[in-house]
C-alpha cells in the first residue's frame, strides 16, 4: 500500500512503527535472555537477520499488544511504549526500555528505504547496548506498558498500572527514527549496580 505512493499515509506509518516495535521487543527479549535462546528463530527483516520467538503464549501476547498499539497509533493517542524487566525473586524493576512517540505533520515525504535504514540503525544500537548493560543473573519477567491520553477509553483486558520506575537508574538515550508522521525516540534506563 505504501510502496506505490511517494509519501506515507497515517495508516502506513502506524503499521511501520508497530512492526518496528514487534521486532524490537523480540530482539530485546533475545539479547537480555528473558526467554531461552533456543525458543527463538532467525528471520530476515530490514536487510538484517533478527530473532523472533516461537513460544505460542508469548506470540499471542505480543500480537495482542501490537494490534492495540497500531490502533492507538492511528488515533494518535499513544505517547510512550515501555518494556519493563522485573526480577522475580525481589520484585524490583531492573531495566526499562522506553520509546517516546511524537506526532508530526507529515509534510516531508520520506521513502520507505530511508525509514527502514533508520530502523535498522536503531535495532543495531539496541543490540550493541548489551555490552554495557549489567548482567541479569536472576530469573526475570517482562511487561509492556503503554502511556496514553487520560480521556481514552480503556479497552477490555487492559488495566491501569503504575509507571514502574527504577529506584536508582542510569539513563542512556539511543537513536531515533521518524516517518514524518510518527517520530520514535528510544532510551534505556537500568538499575545502578553498587559494585563500584
Amino acid at each position: 500500500m505504501t510502496s506505490t505512493l511517494k509519501g506515507i499515509t497515517l495508516k502506513g506509518s502506524a503499521e511501520l512503527v508497530a512492526e518496528f516495535f514487534s521486532f524490537g521487543i523480540n530482539s530485546i527479549l533475545y539479547q537480555r535472555g528473558i526467554y531461552p535462546p533456543e525458543s527463538f528463530t532467525r528471520v530476515t527483516q530490514y536487510d538484517m537477520s533478527l530473532q523472533l520467538t516461537t513460544d505460542g503464549k508469548l506470540k499471542d501476547y505480543l500480537t495482542k499488544v501490537v494490534a492495540q498499539l497500531k490502533e492507538w497509533l492511528f488515533d494518535c493517542t499513544v505517547q510512550k511504549l515501555v518494556l519493563v524487566i522485573t526480577c522475580l525473586e525481589t520484585n524490583e524493576v531492573l531495566e526499562r526500555w522506553q520509546f517516546d512517540i511524537e506526532y508530526g505533520c507529515g509534510r516531508r515525504t520520506k521513502s520507505i528505504k530511508t525509514i527502514q535504514d533508520e530502523i535498522r540503525s536503531v535495532i543495531r544500537q539496541i543490540t550493541a547496548t548489551v555490552t554495557f548493560l549489567p548482567l541479569l543473573e536472576t530469573a526475570c519477567a517482562f511487561d509492556l506498558l503503554v502511556y496514553t491520553d487520560k480521556d481514552l477509553m480503556v479497552p477490555e483486558k487492559w488495566e491501569e498500572s503504575g509507571p514502574q520506575i527504577i529506584d536508582q537508574s542510569e539513563e542512556v538515550r539511543l537513536r531515533s527514527f521518524t516517518t514524518s508522521i510518527h517520530k520514535v525516540n528510544s532510551m534505556v534506563a537500568y538499575k545502578r549496580t553498587d559494585s563500584a
Partner: protein, 717 residues
C-alpha cells in the same frame, strides 16, 4: 586419394570454365562481319562445348566411380582384416574350448572312478550296519534292564532327595530366621546409633539455635543500627544526588559564567564606548550649536556685510548723491567732523529744544490736562454734536425725503412739462442741497477721525501696560519651570537605572531556574515520569510478569505444603520411635491417620527394638545378680565389705567391726599405689599400720591383722 580425386575434379572444372570463357572475347570482335557463319561456328562451338562438358562429366563420373571403387576396395580390405581377426579369435577360442573339453573329460573320468569307490564303500558299510544293528538290539535289551533298575534306584533317590530337600528347607528357614534376626539386630543397633547421633545433633542444634538466637538478637540490634545509618546515608545520598546534579551543572555554569564574563567585558567596553560616544556626541552637538550659531552669525554677518556694502556704496555714492565732493574717507571724516560739529551744534540746539520741549511738555501736560478737560468738554460737545448730528441726520433724512418728494413732484411736473425749462433751477437747487450734505458729512467725518485718534492713543497706552505686565509674569514662570524640570529629570533617570538593574538580575535568576527545571524535567521524562492529569499507563492484565509471579506463588505454596507434610511425617516417626520401646506398635502412629500407614519395615524394626531392649534388661538383671553374688562372696570369704565411695576411694568395713561407722578408707594414687586414709577407726590401729604398712608394706597382711584383732576382741568370751 580422395583429395587428389577432388583436386582433379576441381582442376577439370576450372579448365572447362576457362575454356568456356576464352572463346567469348574473340567472338565479340568478329560478330558484325559474319552473322550466319558465326552462328554456325557458335553452334559448332556449343556442340563442342557440350561434348567437352559431356566428356568432363564422364570424366568426373569416371573419377567418382574410381573413387567409389577405391573406397569399396578399402572397405573390402578392412572387412577382410576384420574377418581375419575374428577368425584368429575364433580359432583361439576353439583351441581353448578344446582344452577345456579335455580337462572336463579328465575330471569326468576321475569322478567316475570316485563313484565306483564310493559304491564299494557303501556296500561294505551296509554290511557293517547290519552287524551293528544286531549289536544295537542286544544293547537295547541290556539298556532296558538297566532302565528298570535305574527307575527303582531313581525312585529311591527321589525319595531321598525329597527328604534332603525338606531338611534343607528347614535349615534354610532357620538360616533365614537367623539372618533376619541378625539383620534386625544390626538395624536396631544402627537405629540406636542414629538416635544417639540425632540426639547429639539435636543437642548441637539446640546449642547452635541458642547461639543463633543470641547472634540474631545481636544482628537485630546491628540491623537497627544499620537502618539508622541507612536512613542517614539515604539523606546523604539525596544530598549527594543534588550535589552531583549541581556538579554536573557546574560545567554548564562555568561555560555560562565565561560567556557572561565575556558579555560583561563586552558590555563594559561597549558602555565605555557608549560613554565616549556620548561625550563625542555632546561635543559634536556643542560644535553643531556653535556651528549653527556661527552660521547664523555668518548669515547675519553676510547681511551686515551686504548692508555695509550698500552703506559703503551709499557712502561712496554719497559724494555723488549729496554733491559734497567726497572721494576719500578723509573727506568723509571731514564731512563727519563737520557733521559732528553740526550735530554738536544741533545737540545744543536739541538740548535747548529739549529743555524747551520739557517746558513745552510740562506746558503740554498742563495743556494736555487742559485738553483732557477740553476733551471731556469736547466729548460733551461731541455728544451734543452727535445729538446735533443725529438731529441733522434726521433733518437730512427729512430733507432727503423732502428732496425726494420735491424730486418726485418735479419729475411729475417735468413729466407734464418739458425738460429744459425748469431743470437748471432744479439742478442748481440739487447741487446746493448736495453741497450742504457734503459739508455736513465732511464735518461729521472729521469729528469721527478725531475721536478715533483719541481712542487709538488711549488703547495703545493700555495695551503697552498690559504687555509689560505679561512679559514680567512670563519671565517669572520660565525661570521657575526651568529649575523644576532639571531636578525632576535627573531623579527619574536614576530611578529608571536602578529598576533596569533589578530587572536584569531577576531575569538572570529566572533563566537559571528555568534551565534547572528543564534539566529536571528531561531527567524525569527519561526515567519515565508522566503527568497524571494528561496521561495514563496501561498494560494487559494477563502479562508475562503476572503469569510468572502466579506460577512462582503456586510453586512456593506447593513447596510449603510438602514441607508441612514432611514435618508432620517426621514428628509422627519420632513419636512412634519412643512408643515402640513400650511394646505397643498399634499406637505408634497417632498423628499419621491420613498419611502413610505403618509399613511392615517399621513394625519389624519396632519388634526388633523391643526384643533388643528386653535383652538389655535381662542382661542388666543378670549382671546385677552376679555382682551381688560376687560381693557377698567377697564379704563372706575375706571378711571385708568393699564399697566405692568416690572415684579411686575404697571403703572397707570388717565383718567383726564393733560399730557401724568403723571403716578403712583406701585411696588409689595417681601412680597406682593404694594409700590408707585417716579415719577414726584407723587411728585406733596405729600400731598395726606402722608395722604392716610402713614396715612390711603389705596391705593384705594389715587387713588380715585387723580382722584377727577384731575377731579376737569379739570372741574373747
Amino acid at each position: 586419394m580422395d583429395m587428389e580425386d577432388n583436386t582433379t575434379v576441381f582442376s577439370t572444372l576450372k579448365s572447362f570454365n576457362s575454356f568456356i570463357s576464352h572463346p567469348e572475347p574473340p567472338k565479340r570482335h568478329s560478330e558484325q562481319p559474319a552473322g550466319s557463319a558465326n552462328l554456325q561456328i557458335n553452334y559448332k562451338r556449343s556442340m563442342e562445348l557440350l561434348d567437352a562438358a559431356e566428356r568432363v562429366q564422364s570424366k568426373s563420373q569416371y573419377i567418382q566411380l574410381d573413387q567409389e571403387k577405391k573406397q569399396m576396395e578399402l572397405s573390402h580390405k578392412r572387412a577382410r582384416f576384420e574377418l581375419e581377426k575374428v577368425a584368429t579369435d575364433s580359432a583361439r577360442d576353439l583351441e581353448r574350448e578344446v582344452d577345456r573339453n579335455q580337462d572336463l573329460l579328465g575330471r569326468i573320468k576321475r569322478l567316475e572312478e570316485k563313484v565306483g569307490d564310493a559304491a564299494k564303500n557303501l556296500s561294505e558299510q551296509s554290511g557293517n550296519n547290519k552287524v551293528l544293528r544286531k549289536n544295537f538290539d542286544d544293547l537295547n535289551k541290556k539298556v532296558l534292564e538297566r532302565d528298570v533298575r535305574l527307575n527303582t534306584a531313581n525312585q529311591m533317590i527321589s525319595s531321598l532327595h525329597d527328604e534332603i530337600r525338606e531338611l534343607k528347607q528347614t535349615v534354610q528357614n532357620q538360616d533365614c530366621t537367623i539372618s533376619t534376626k541378625n539383620l534386625e539386630i544390626q538395624s536396631l543397633q544402627e537405629q540406636l546409633d542414629l538416635q544417639r547421633r540425632r540426639y547429639q545433633e539435636m543437642s548441637q542444634l539446640c546449642q547452635s539455635l541458642q547461639s543463633a538466637q543470641s547472634s540474631c538478637s545481636e544482628h537485630v540490634n546491628k540491623i537497627k543500627e544499620l537502618e539508622r545509618r541507612l536512613s542517614l546515608q539515604e539523606q546523604d545520598i539525596a544530598l549527594v544526588r543534588t550535589m552531583r546534579s549541581e556538579v554536573a551543572r557546574v560545567q554548564d555554569l562555568d561555560k555560562e559564567v565565561r560567556r557572561l564574563r565575556e558579555d560583561n567585558a563586552y558590555l563594559r567596553e561597549s558602555r565605555e564606548n557608549s560613554s565616549l560616544l556620548k561625550e563625542e556626541v555632546e561635543g559634536l552637538r556643542r560644535k553643531l550649536e556653535r556651528m549653527e550659531k556661527t552660521n547664523e552669525d555668518l548669515v547675519n554677518s553676510e547681511l551686515e556685510k551686504e548692508v555695509l556694502i550698500e552703506k559703503l556704496q551709499a557712502w561712496e555714492n554719497l559724494g555723488q548723491s549729496t554733491g559734497l565732493n567726497i572721494r576719500k574717507p578723509e573727506d568723509l571724516s571731514r564731512e563727519v567732523i563737520q557733521i559732528q560739529q553740526r550735530e554738536i551744534a544741533l545737540k545744543e540746539q536739541n538740548y535747548t529744544l529739549s529743555s524747551s520741549v520739557d517746558r513745552s511738555q510740562s506746558q503740554l501736560q498742563g495743556e494736555a490736562s487742559q485738553q483732557r478737560s477740553k476733551a471731556l468738554e469736547e466729548q460733551k460737545k461731541r455728544e451734543t454734536q452727535d445729538a446735533l448730528v443725529r438731529r441733522l441726520q434726521k433733518r437730512v433724512l427729512l430733507l432727503t425725503k423732502e428732496r425726494d418728494g420735491m424730486r418726485s413732484i418735479l419729475e411729475s411736473y417735468d413729466s407734464e412739462l418739458s425738460h429744459t425749462d425748469y431743470s437748471p433751477q432744479l439742478s442748481k437747487r440739487l447741487r446746493e442741497a448736495e453741497d450742504i450734505l457734503q459739508k455736513t458729512q465732511s464735518h461729521h467725518l472729521e469729528m469721527e477721525v478725531q475721536e478715533n485718534e483719541r481712542r487709538w492713543v488711549f488703547n495703545t497706552f493700555i495695551f503697552f501696560i498690559g504687555v509689560e505686565l505679561e512679559l514680567e509674569s512670563v519671565r517669572k514662570q520660565q525661570s521657575s519651570v526651568a529649575e523644576s524640570n532639571s531636578g525632576m529629570v535627573i531623579e527619574e533617570v536614576l530611578l529608571l537605572r536602578q529598576k533596569i538593574e533589578d530587572v536584569e538580575g531577576e531575569r538572570q535568576r529566572l533563566e537559571e531556574q528555568n534551565n534547572i527545571l528543564e534539566m529536571r524535567l528531561e531527567r524525569h521524562s527519561l526515567q519515565g515520569d508522566y503527568d497524571p492529569v494528561k496521561t495514563r499507563v496501561l498494560h494487559l492484565k494477563m502479562n508475562p510478569t503476572n503469569v510468572a509471579k502466579q506460577q512462582r506463588q503456586q510453586e512456593t505454596e506447593a513447596l510449603r505444603e510438602e514441607v508441612t507434610r514432611l514435618r508432620e511425617h517426621l514428628r509422627s516417626l519420632k513419636d512412634a520411635g519412643p512408643l515402640a520401646l513400650q511394646d505397643d506398635p498399634h499406637t505408634g502412629s497417632p498423628g499419621l491417620g491420613l498419611s502413610l500407614p505403618p509399613s511392615q519395615e517399621v513394625l519389624d524394626l519396632r519388634k526388633q527394638m523391643e526384643s533388643s531392649e528386653m535383652k538389655n534388661k535381662r542382661l542388666k538383671e543378670v549382671f546385677q545378680r552376679k555382682i551381688q553374688e560376687f560381693r557377698t562372696m567377697c564379704y563372706v570369704l575375706t571378711g571385708y565389705q568393699l564399697d566405692v565411695t568416690t572415684e579411686n576411694q575404697y571403703r572397707l568395713s570388717s565383718v567383726y567391726a564393733e560399730q557401724m561407722d568403723d571403716s578403712l578408707l583406701f585411696k588409689k594414687g595417681s601412680s597406682g599405689i593404694m594409700q590408707l586414709m585417716e579415719t577414726e577407726f584407723s587411728k585406733t590401729l596405729g600400731e598395726m599400720v606402722a608395722l604392716h604398712l610402713h614396715h612390711q608394706k603389705s596391705i593384705p597382711a594389715f587387713l588380715s591383722a585387723v580382722t584377727l584383732d577384731l575377731f579376737s576382741r569379739q570372741t574373747i568370751f
